[in-house]
Structure formats: structure tokens, C-alpha cells
């Protein structure tokens, strides 16, 4: 399987070059996306095959890259899980793009980078040494940056691209440091060698902290998330789907690979920052999703939330592992992995929905949409599946992973550190808050876009999207439902990976009655998505049938009642801003929300204005000071540009003497 996967990864990279050569060809788009879809599907199958057969780690050594290292590629269970995730997400995005790509104005700005982006992500997941990992990581960052800049004429896209480039560079630098520390003085850059190195606890802590920063900045962990809501929505929608659905998971893969596989034991208290950062990220991310007025930005903020949830699960797994409880660590890690998979499914679906809406109306701002359920009925049904799933509502898949995570949280009293015993329930409360706020955010998302009356001419004249796009969305929606009612299949699939990471896995679920989930014997709890689905469908259908049959089936259309004062102007509906008002007020301190009412003076006929300002506190408190400091320093250092030759020479001389002195002291 590894040979196949490696060949596909290289094939995808080569496809990028081919796409660059095909510039101007009218069929280029279909060819590139079609091939990408086929390759991705093969990757997914390779991942599933590896997991299903429980094949051990397979490696291959390619003579490319640094001469004395080459490139090691390995495919073990953990890689396979993410290979499966990447393959499914890539295939869906590519199929969607076959239809979506027809509307692209400048295909040559997307096509050469798209397959390479997929290929680079595959290489990250397959990498078996630090060099390959970091190189692929950087290629992935740069290609996604190029994709973000597709619509480079918009000012805000350029700003987003710049911010993304800076943050990506910073992240890679931190990762470089982390891998350098892990390799140690001997310089064993192969993962195999890193596993055997003995490290002091202090070093392990430092590496884990660096990984949190490096991988966290790519995944969107607070406070390194600021680029994400700007960059993800700026890209074309199928790329947004890949970035949010898949690339963030590749970043998570990096964290899991290091924290659970390469690094060895970590002190228990290192799980605290992971749990805290995860829970806070979840709440803050979803709060901003609740107030943002741009559909794709809402989705990007919700990605931040889900990353927070997954990080909290990983932190919990670290805590259980440090306490020598592999079964419970397996529960938490399974919750994290399943949630990563689920998030890929519904977030990709929703980004495609946003893309379809963008295609049909040309608008992303929620307040310009509305009533699309009448104009785009099929998209509306698929979007409904997506929002129900992402709001963690049974019987769909989002709830399954939340449920597993809460079961893990409930086991926290077994931890032996009082600090963790207190922290974990509190974090659980935050996660529950995030889940409930997610439901609010997606009622708003769906309600404002699809329900009500059209708020603009574009929305009124919208049309259904093409079959390819619908097909991709339908596939993802189907997977959301299947993963919700048959979660045991997925849990059994990832079991080998969990085993690899924490040394235990959940009991096999496949043989349970009715596909019930019974995670750990000690939990004494079970949940059957299938039965809940059957019950709800049956009782809903039966009651509807009975009512229609026995009581009344008459129906008359009439104007809306609206308490007797219907107003024909669609502006009188609740819009995105008004819907978020209660939550914005309740959470005003976190959002730094300020509301001002501008009243015209008496006699003035201009309307009064209600203005709301919100601010990302991380940006205001952390980034702006850093930017100001850099500004200040660069202004000062600017003087260095205008020195005389004698002064330049003395600078060079001075630093030489300083270095020599340093050397003398060092020895």
C-alpha cells in the first residue's frame, strides 16, 4: 500500500506541473479535477485497506531530498487514518470542483496548485523522517497560500494572504525547532530513530509546547487562529473545504504523531495547557461564528471551534496516558480522531454549500441572502444535513464524537491529580457551551441563508447548482448520516491507530446489537444512533400519517399573519446581525462588543443608526503590540541603511570581536 500511496502523492505533485503546462486548454479543469478525484479516492481506499487489514507499518525509501538521508515514507495505522480522511475530503472537493470549476474566471490561478496541495498533504501524512515532514509541510503551506491568493485583486484577500504567509512561516520555524530538539545532538532525523532517543522531561515538555504552537498555528488554536478566518474564506470554496476540512487535520496529525508516538512519556501537567487551550478555542471560535456576517467566515470560525474540541480530547488523552490509564486514553483519543473525521465531512459539505450559494447568487454576506430553500431545494436539503450534523444533534455524526468526548470527561475523577479533577469538568462545561452555541450559530447560518424571504435581487433569482457539485455534497451528506448511525464501523477502523498511539483501543463495536456504542465497560453507558434514527423517523412518520388519515389534511395558503401586522419589506425579517444580538450581549466581555446608537438631532430627518463593534481580543492584546514593537524596531534599525563605510566596517568588526569573546567564554 505504501508504494501505491507514495506513487499517488508524487503523481499529484506531477499533475500540478502538468496543469501548469495545460494553461489555456478548455478541458484542463475537468481533467485536473477528475484525476485529482480519482487519485484521492485511491488514497482513501489505501487508508481504509491498511486499517481494515490491520497491516503493520510499511516503509519505503526514496532517493530524493537530502543526499545522505533521502526521503523515508511510512504508512502505519495513524497515517492511514489521516490518509483516509484526506482521501475522502480530497475526492469530494475535487468532484465538487469539476462543476464549480466551470465558473472559474481564472482557472490557471487554481489548477497548477490544487493537485500539488493534495500531494503535499499526502506527503506530510506519509513522511517518515523530519526532513520530508517539514519540507512537505512547507510546500503544503506555500501552495495553499497561492490558492488563497486566487482572487488576488481584492484588497482583503491580499491582506489575508500576507497574514497567512507570516503565520505559516512562523509555524514552520517553530516546528523546525521542535524536530531539531527531538533529534538531539546525534541528529537522528528519521522518526524511527527519534522514537528510541531518551529525553529529559524538560526537553519533552519543551518539544510538546513547540508542537502546540507550530501545529496549533496551522490548525487554528487560540491565540494563533487570527489568520484562519481571513485566509480560509478567501480561497475558492472547494479549496476552503480542503483547507478547513483536511489541512487543519494534517496539522493535528503532526501534533498527534509527535505527542503520542515520537515523544514518549510527557508529565501529566502538560495536558493542562492542551485542555485549557482547546476548551477556550472552542468557545471563542464559536462565539465569533455567532456574530460574523459573512457565511464563509462563519464556517471558518466554526472550524476553530472544532479544532478546539479535538485539542481538548487530545489533552484528555494525554492526561489519561500520563496516569497510566490506556483504556480511558483510548476513549479520549478515539473521540478526537472520530471528531476529526466527522468535522472533515460536515465542514467540507458546508463550505461546498457556501460555494454553491456563492455561485448561484454571487454573495457571501448573510444579510444579502434568504429564502434559498425555494430556489435551491436540493442544496437546501443537503445543507440541512450539514448544519444538523455540525450542531452535534443526534442521530447524525457530530453528536457521536461529542458523546464519546463527554463520556471521557465523565471519567475524570479517576485521574489522580486534584487539579485535573477540577479542570476537566470545567472544561467539559465549556465544551458543552461550545456545542450549544454551535447549534445557535448554525440555526442562524441556515435560517438567514435558506429560510425566510430573499433579501436581495441576486437571492431572488438564484438557481440550483450543477450535478457534479450536488453529487459531491450528497456524498458527504450520506457519509454524515452513515457515520452517525453506524459509528461503530468508524471506531473499529481507527482502533489500530489508537492502539499505536496509547497502547490500547476501545472494544470492537461491530458485533454490538443494533450498532450500539458501548465504549468502555466501566462507563456503563451506551448510545445507538441507528435506533434513535429509526425511532424518530418511525414516530414522526407514523404520527404524520395518523394525523393526516384520522384528523384533517386540509390546507390553505394565505399571507403570513405576523401578529396582524405583516410587512412586505424583507428588511423587517431578522437578519444576521439581529439574530446574534442576544448572544452578543450576553457574551459582550469576550467579544469586546460595543453598541452605540447615533441619534440625529431634533429636526434632522436622517435615520438613527445602531452600530455594533466587536473585536478579537487576541488580535488587540497580543498581535497589535507585537506589530507595534516590530514597527518601532524597524524604524529604529532603518538608520542602519544610511551609515558611512567606516561605520559599517566597525559594525562588522564589533560583531566579530563579540563572537570571539563569546566563544572564549563558552569554552
Amino acid at each position: 500500500m505504501i508504494e501505491l500511496s507514495a506513487a499517488i502523492a508524487l503523481g499529484l505533485l506531477a499533475l500540478s506541473l502538468a496543469a501548469a503546462a495545460m494553461r489555456g486548454l478548455s478541458a484542463a479543469s475537468a481533467v485536473v479535477y477528475g484525476t485529482s478525484a480519482a487519485f484521492s479516492l485511491a488514497l482513501a481506499l489505501a487508508g481504509v485497506w491498511t486499517l481494515a487489514t490491520q497491516a503493520g507499518a510499511q516503509g519505503v525509501h526514496l532517493p530524493i531530498g537530502l543526499p545522505w538521508i533521502g526521503a523515508h515514507l511510512t504508512l502505519d495505522a495513524l497515517s492511514a487514518v489521516f490518509l483516509m480522511l484526506l482521501g475522502v475530503g480530497g475526492a469530494a472537493a475535487s468532484v465538487f470542483a469539476i462543476g464549480y470549476g466551470r465558473h472559474e474566471h481564472e482557472p490557471h490561478r487554481v489548477l497548477p496548485f490544487y493537485p500539488g496541495f493534495l500531494g503535499a498533504m499526502t506527503m506530510v501524512v506519509l513522511a517518515g523522517d523530519a526532513f520530508t515532514f517539514l519540507l512537505s509541510w512547507e510546500v503544503m503551506s506555500l501552495l495553499s497560500w497561492a490558492l488563497v491568493l486566487t482572487n488576488h485583486r481584492a484588497e482583503e484577500t491580499r491582506a489575508a494572504g500576507y497574514l497567512y504567509l507570516v503565520m505559516a512561516g512562523f509555524g514552520t520555524m517553530v516546528l523546525l525547532l521542535a524536530f531539531g530538539l527531538m533529534a538531539g545532538p546525534e541528529g537522528g532525523y528519521e522518526f524511527e530513530a527519534m522514537r528510541t532517543v531518551e529525553r529529559s522531561p524538560a526537553l519533552a515538555v519543551l518539544v510538546l509546547a513547540l508542537m502546540m504552537i507550530g501545529a496549533g498555528s496551522k490548525a487554528g488554536l487560540l491565540p494563533l487562529h487570527v489568520w484562519l478566518p481571513a485566509a480560509h474564506p478567501a480561497a475558492p470554496s472547494h479549496v476552503s473545504a480542503l483547507m478547513s476540512g483536511v489541512m487543519t487535520k494534517v496539522a493535528l496529525y503532526g501534533f498527534i504523531r509527535v505527542a503520542f508516538d515520537l515523544l514518549g512519556p510527557v508529565p501529566w501537567w502538560m495536558s493542562v495547557p492542551v485542555i485549557v487551550a482547546g476548551a477556550l478555542t472552542a468557545v471563542v471560535g464559536i462565539l465569533f461564528a455567532n456574530i460574523d456576517g459573512d457565511g464563509k467566515r462563519v464556517l471558518a470560525y466554526s472550524t476553530i471551534e472544532n479544532i478546539g474540541v479535538i485539542f481538548a480530547a487530545l489533552g484528555l488523552a494525554l492526561a489519561f496516558r500520563a496516569n497510566g490509564m490506556p483504556a480511558l486514553a483510548a476513549l479520549a483519543l478515539t473521540a478526537g480522531l472520530i471528531h476529526a473525521m466527522n468535522h472533515m465531512l460536515f465542514k467540507s459539505l458546508l463550505f461546498m454549500v457556501a460555494g454553491a450559494v456563492l455561485n448561484a447568487t454571487g454573495r457571501r454576506d448573510l444579510d444579502g441572502l434568504g429564502g434559498l430553500i425555494h430556489r435551491m431545494p436540493k442544496t437546501a436539503v443537503l445543507a440541512l444535513v450539514g448544519v444538523t450534523a455540525i450542531s452535534a444533534l443526534p442521530p447524525l455524526n457530530g453528536f457521536v464524537s461529542e458523546w464519546l468526548l463527554f463520556q471521557a470527561v465523565l471519567q475524570s475523577p479517576k485521574l489522580s491529580q486534584p487539579g485535573l479533577q477540577f479542570l476537566v469538568p470545567a472544561a467539559g462545561g465549556l465544551l458543552a457551551l461550545a456545542a450549544a452555541l454551535a447549534a445557535a450559530a448554525f440555526v442562524r447560518f441556515y435560517g438567514v441563508i435558506f429560510l425566510g424571504r430573499a433579501r436581495s435581487d441576486e437571492a431572488r433569482d438564484a438557481h440550483e447548482v450543477d450535478r457534479w457539485s450536488l453529487g459531491a455534497m450528497a456524498g458527504l451528506a450520506l457519509l454524515c448520516v452513515l457515520a452517525g448511525i453506524l459509528p461503530g464501523v468508524l471506531i473499529d477502523l481507527v482502533a489500530p491507530a489508537v492502539d499505536l498511539a496509547v497502547g490500547a483501543h476501545l472494544p470492537m463495536q461491530a458485533n454490538n446489537n443494533w450498532f450500539t456504542l458501548v465504549p468502555v465497560a466501566v462507563v456503563h453507558s451506551s448510545y445507538s444512533g441507528l435506533l434513535v434514527m429509526v425511532f424518530v423517523v418511525f414516530s414522526g412518520g407514523a404520527s404524520a400519517w395518523l394525523v393526516h388519515r384520522l384528523a384533517s389534511r386540509r390546507l390553505r395558503r394565505a399571507p403570513a399573519w405576523d401578529c396582524g401586522f405583516p410587512n412586505a419589506d424583507p428588511v423587517t425579517q431578522y437578519g444576521a446581525g439581529s439574530f446574534s444580538q442576544p448572544i452578543r450581549r450576553v457574551m459582550a466581555p469576550v467579544l469586546a462588543a460595543r453598541e452605540t446608537v447615533v441619534m440625529p438631532p431634533p429636526g434632522d430627518a436622517t435615520p438613527a443608526r445602531h452600530e455594533v463593534q466587536t473585536e478579537d481580543l487576541a488580535w488587540a492584546r497580543l498581535y497589535l503590540p507585537i506589530i507595534a514593537a516590530i514597527d518601532y524596531a524597524t524604524t529604529r534599525l532603518n538608520a542602519l541603511q544610511f551609515l558611512t563605510i567606516r561605520r559599517y566596517l566597525s559594525l562588522v568588526f564589533g560583531s566579530l570581536v563579540l563572537l570571539l569573546t563569546g566563544l572564549a567564554i563558552w569554552n
Binding site: P394, P413, A439, G447, L451, G540
Partner: protein, 318 residues
């Protein structure tokens, strides 16, 4: 044979909650009326209302979509399934392992989700107003509920209600401050979730204060009947939940005979009567809060849930 018996018992439970739910609503209304020195409508009035609504034709807003028409049944089904999984007169029913307490809470969340969507469907300002406030209240009530679930689960060692009840009945619990806090938290959540005073007023049609009513403003006929029935079921569900966790006495064990089942049913009726009376007394004695005071109220439940969990560690670690 045993399977048939079990299935029958489960079906009885589902029908009992359905049959009793409007009666409970009627009882609360009756007692409230008596407390205000009115005669009040008969306890059976909600049944008559439902029958009347069922027979009437539906007047549908012109731009209502299919979602608007499907939602009442979805809301009803989700609430009914949730209510059927809460132990009322017996535990260990055939499908009781299908969903634990967390899943029951989430099922109610599904019902709320569709209700809010339906409120936004017609595109009136009231529908949106109700939906946005409902989601705000839900966003705070749900974590409070889950923290309460944590407390209970930490005491009982399970989130599955049948196990919880069995543990609570066993008397190993003792008097726990944490459980008291959980009870207060659950009561606050129940008031908020069921749109009762002081969070919302089920009897009002005053635009600025209503939440639940604003969402269902456009509904009529059988659709409205389904939603009203679902609301009654939800009230019954919360009563049964409080009853089975905090006053579990009388609930028939898993291997009960007919006698115990009948006794359990009698106990359940008594609990409902007491709960309904307490609710009516409480609702008559407090005033409705303004909307932006509600977060503090539910926030108190959230804190109590968390405090209950914390205090539990005190007694555990001794």
C-alpha cells in the same frame, strides 16, 4: 414471549407519556387559576384543544417551505422519543439502553433546533425574534444541564438513566449537597427549557416578552397541535426526570411483576401531581424576568452544576 412482554412494556411507556402530557399541562393551568381565585378551565381542556386543532384546516403562510410543514412532526418525534426513554414507572425497559441522559438532552436540542428553524422560515420579524432568543437561552441551558448530568453521573457512575435510578434507589447516596445543587440547577433548566415563568410566559401573547410563542406564531391547525403536544411532552419529561433522579422511590425495578408496575404507575401519577402543583405555586409567586436578566438566572444553574461537581470531590477524596 419475554421479548413481546418487554416490547409491550416499552410501548405502554410511550403511550402513557403521550396520554398524560396534556393532562399535566391542564393540571398546572387549573391550579394556577385556582391560586388566582379563578375557576379555570377543566383539566381536560388541553385534550379538547388538541382535538379541535387537529380537526381544523391548516392556514399556511404563502412563502412557507416544506421545512415549515415537516418541522412539527420532527419536533414531536424527537421529544416523544426522548420522553419515552426517561424512566417513569419502571426502569430497565427494553430500549432503555438506546440513549443515555446526554443523548436525551441532545434529542431535546434537536427539537429546539427545528423549532427555531421553523420560526425563521416564514420570514417574519417575530419568528426571528423568538428563534434568536430561544437559541440564546438554549445555549446557556444546555451546558447547565450537562454539568448537572456530570454531577449525577459522578455520583451514580453512569449516564444511563436506568442505572442512575437503580443507584439512587439503593440508598447508598446519603444526603449530598451536590445533589441538592444539581436539583436546583435542573429545576432552573427545566423552567427555562419549558418556557415557564420567570424565563418566558406560556400564557402571554405580548410581543416583547415572548420567546416560545413568537416562534410558533405562524402555526395553525394540526401543525400547532403537534407543537403544543410536544411542549406538553417536554414538561412531562422534565418532571419525570426530576422525579426519577431525585425522588426515585416507587419506580419498579427491571424484573418487576405486575403489582410493582401498577404501584410504580401510581407513584408516578402522584409525583406528577406534586410536581405540577409546585410548578403552579412557583409560577404564581414570582414575576417574569426581562430577557437580559435570564442569562444570570441560567448562569446560576451553570455555576450550581459546576459547584456541585466540585463539592463532590470533597466528599470523594475524604
Amino acid at each position: 414471549m419475554e421479548l413481546i412482554g418487554n416490547l409491550l412494556l416499552q410501548a405502554v411507556q410511550m403511550l402513557i407519556v403521550l396520554a398524560l402530557a396534556p393532562g399535566l399541562t391542564g393540571l398546572v393551568r387549573k391550579i394556577k387559576a385556582r391560586l388566582l381565585r379563578r375557576r379555570g378551565a377543566s383539566i381536560l381542556q388541553p385534550y379538547r384543544d388538541l382535538a379541535r386543532l387537529m380537526r381544523k384546516e391548516v392556514v399556511l403562510a404563502e412563502n412557507a417551505s416544506w421545512l415549515f410543514r415537516v418541522s412539527p412532526y420532527t419536533i414531536f418525534a424527537a421529544t416523544w422519543v426522548a420522553a419515552a426513554l426517561v424512566p417513569t414507572f419502571a426502569i430497565g425497559l427494553h430500549f432503555s439502553w438506546t440513549a443515555d441522559l446526554i443523548a436525551i438532552v441532545a434529542l431535546l436540542g434537536s427539537a429546539r433546533f427545528f423549532l427555531a428553524l421553523a420560526g425563521m422560515d416564514v420570514g417574519t420579524s417575530f419568528g426571528g425574534l423568538g428563534a434568536s432568543r430561544e437559541m440564546m437561552i438554549g445555549a446557556l441551558a444546555e451546558p447547565a444541564m450537562l454539568l448537572m448530568v456530570f454531577t449525577v453521573a459522578l455520583v451514580a457512575g453512569s449516564t444511563e438513566l436506568s442505572n442512575v435510578v437503580a443507584f439512587m434507589e439503593s440508598g447508598e447516596v446519603g444526603i449530598r449537597v451536590s445533589m441538592g445543587m444539581a436539583l436546583i440547577a435542573l429545576t432552573i433548566v427545566a423552567l427555562a427549557e419549558n418556557a415557564r415563568i420567570p424565563v418566558d410566559n406560556p400564557a402571554t401573547h405580548l410581543e416583547l416578552t415572548m420567546v416560545h410563542e413568537a416562534m410558533v406564531l405562524e402555526y395553525s391547525g394540526r401543525h400547532l397541535a403537534m407543537i403544543e403536544l410536544a411542549a406538553s411532552l417536554k414538561l412531562l419529561l422534565y418532571m419525570a426526570l426530576i422525579g426519577c433522579i431525585f425522588v426515585p422511590w416507587g419506580i419498579a425495578p427491571a424484573t418487576a411483576g405486575v403489582g410493582e408496575l401498577v404501584a410504580g404507575f401510581a407513584f408516578f401519577l402522584a409525583k406528577l401531581a406534586v410536581g405540577g402543583t409546585l410548578l403552579a405555586v412557583f409560577e404564581t409567586s414570582v414575576a417574569k424576568m426581562r430577557v437580559f436578566r435570564v442569562p444570570d438566572f441560567i448562569g446560576a444553574a451553570l455555576m450550581l452544576g459546576l459547584l456541585g461537581t466540585l463539592l463532590l470531590f470533597v466528599s470523594r477524596s475524604l
